[in-house]
């Protein structure tokens, strides 16, 4: 992380936390545009609402903990957490779901553990997991991409989306009934609850999967943002590429064994939270493993857990759970993957009987 003192050569100016966070926020913009383009205004409203709540919560926490207010508010970390949450919540999530997730992320997952740098879990994923298990109905009501309605530009209007988020689904539905046509399941949902159909039959029968291109495009947008961050050296390639590679490998093996029941690797890579998670969640410098070898093990573990839950678990996607479980094991991974430091014969890894020196 940027806070580590770097020994010579002192050529570069060390990047500050605020700069890193700002670059990551900039890298989410293609994803945000794609989400708004394909799924309507909901994501944009969610992101703005989440940012507002996050900054308020952050300020309140800093005040209660008697920390300098502007110094920490300006480090953009709360803003990034809010944006990641806004992007991952369903576009029609009611305002209180967003509020609850952001409150838990900032207050409980971050500040109760001691603020930025001390949190063992990724705050955004804690908030997401909490609302996912608390409000299953609201969290599974995803939006259909716009092509579904036949006309190429038929998005739900800004005012209607606003109404759904703030007044509630049923109230808005009572006044204009056509809105119901805008809600739908996600591709992973369809592939999971397939009622015994084979892959081919599901693909032919489902209207959601006919528009799977929207999800491909959103994932591509996240991928572009992620590549930009690797190019700017915000994080190394180890975690995201390992995650994508491992997920591809496992899904390819199972797809090769039985192509009728297991979804193909492309679906696993391009739908759900894979791309967002691989580039924006798994690379969190605070809660992930530290060394390059550690990052590879960390990301591979997440990919395996994602595949297990998606295929045999009860939830259609598992990014939040997988990340939190591996966050828990990150200190353990670090313990065994310490690289050899200069001047020492061997790496100081694991628990040595001689004690640590």
């Amino acid at each position: 992380m940027a806070l580590i003192n770097i020994s010579s050569p002192h050529v570069q100016r060390p990047t500050r936390t605020a700069d890193i966070m700002r670059l990551v926020i900039i890298a989410t913009i293609p994803g945000l545009i794609a989400m708004t383009f394909f799924f309507g205004w909901g994501t944009l409203i969610n992101v703005l609402l989440a940012s507002l709540i996050a900054l308020t919560c952050e300020a309140a926490c800093l005040k209660a903990r008697k920390r300098p207010l502007m110094f920490f508010l300006k480090d953009n970390s709360a803003l990034l957490t809010a944006i990641l949450l806004g992007l991952s919540l369903p576009p029609f999530a009611p305002w209180w779901v967003t509020g609850c997730a952001v409150f838990v992320a900032i207050v409980i997952a971050k500040h109760l553990y001691g603020g930025l740098g001390q949190n063992p879990f990724n705050p955004a994923m804690v908030g997401y997991a909490l609302v996912l298990i608390s409000f299953p109905i609201e969290m599974t009501r995803w939006t259909s991409p716009f092509e579904l309605s036949g006309n190429s530009w038929d998005l739900l209007s800004f005012v209607d989306t606003f109404k759904i988020i703030f007044a509630g689904w049923s109230e808005t539905l009572a006044s204009n009934s056509y809105i119901d046509g805008y809600s739908g399941a996600t591709p992973l949902d369809i592939l999971k609850h397939r009622n015994g159909l084979t892959n081919e039959e599901v693909w032919q029968s489902s209207s959601v999967l006919a528009n799977v291109g929207a999800w491909y495009a959103v994932s591509l947008a996240y991928f572009v943002g992620g590549i930009f961050l690797i190019y700017r050296k915000i994080f190394t390639w180890h975690a995201p590429i390992t995650l994508l590679f491992t997920l591809t490998l496992i899904s390819a093996i199972f797809f090769a064994i039985d192509p009728d029941t297991y979804a193909d690797p492309l679906i696993h890579l391009t739908t759900g939270a894979t791309m967002l998670g691989a580039f924006f969640i798994v690379t969190d410098p605070v809660s992930s493993a530290t060394s390059n070898k550690g990052k590879i093990i960390f990301a591979a573990g997440i990919a395996i857990l994602i595949y297990i839950v998606r295929t045999w678990g009860s939830y259609p996607d598992a990014m939040a759970f997988a990340v939190m479980l591996m966050n828990l094991s990150a200190p353990f991974i670090d313990q065994y993957t310490q690289p050899r430091s200069y001047g020492h014969a061997r790496a100081n890894k694991g628990l040595s009987s001689k004690g640590r020196s």
């Binding site: 409980i108 909490l130 298990i133 608390s134 409000f135 299953p136 609201e138």
Partner: protein, 234 residues
């Protein structure tokens, strides 16, 4: 030896509270506190067992050989828990079904064994009875508090289903705090219990700290007041 009942009370309810400070009996504490009625009934059941076991252990404390004292305590506690279980089966059958395995599990509640070993085996019968009562009360209060928090957050109600414990008259005790509440599943599920208990412990520690700070400030004040008149003397 005179028993300091005031100190026993403070210990049981606050300073050495079984749930908040000793962190004993967490299994039932976390498992059954999804609503006030469950928490209260398990609290009362544990309290009765605690009073009974403290009474029996202190009564026989001079006859129990110390080499086999633990098996003897376990037998006493097990006998009492079995009676409580049978009594609940007879009197509050629905509650008995809801609490299920957690009634027999009172045997394994460390508070009961802990008080038998730490207090009842060394003190008189009346003091042990009082200690059992006050420790049980401290445990029950925390259970009910956690139950209330989780019921309010999880279901938006308070004192629902109290008729299971207090008879049909208690049916109207239910308070609906939020109409049309969607329900917050997290509070009812086990993780909610962990977070809730953690917050309760944090609040207790915070209160302790602020009381401590105020006491220190109060102790410092007279000193400065005493010094000042000395200074003003010509």
């Amino acid at each position: 030896m005179a028993t300091n009942y005031r100190e026993l009370t403070i210990n049981g309810l606050w300073k050495n509270n079984p749930a908040l400070v000793q962190l004993l009996g967490l299994c039932p504490l976390l498992a059954v506190t999804a609503s006030v009625v469950n928490a209260l009934s398990l609290g009362i059941a544990s309290m009765l067992v605690l009073i009974g076991s403290n009474f029996a252990v202190s009564l026989f404390r001079n006859f129990i050989p110390s080499a086999v004292r633990l098996p003897i305590y376990v037998m006493i506690i097990a006998a009492l828990v079995t009676s409580i279980e049978l009594a609940m089966q007879a009197l509050t059958y629905e509650l008995y079904l809801i609490l299920g395995i957690f009634i027999p599990l009172i045997v394994t509640n460390c508070i009961i064994m802990g008080r038998a070993e730490a207090y009842a085996a060394k003190n008189t019968v009346t003091a042990s009875l009082y200690d059992g009562f006050i420790m049980g009360l401290g445990f029950t209060i925390v259970l009910v508090l956690l139950g209330a928090i989780r019921e309010i957050l999880g279901a938006g109600t308070l004192f629902a289903d109290m008729q299971l414990l207090f008879g049909p008259a208690a049916e109207s005790w239910k308070i609906v705090l939020f109409v049309d509440y969607v329900g917050f599943l997290f509070a009812i599920l086990p993780p909610g219990a962990f977070v809730g208990l953690g917050l309760l412990i944090a609040v207790k520690n915070w209160l302790d700290q602020s009381i401590d700070r105020r006491n220190r400030a109060k102790n410092n004040q007279p000193k400065t007041l005493q010094i000042q008149p000395l200074k003003s003397q010509p």
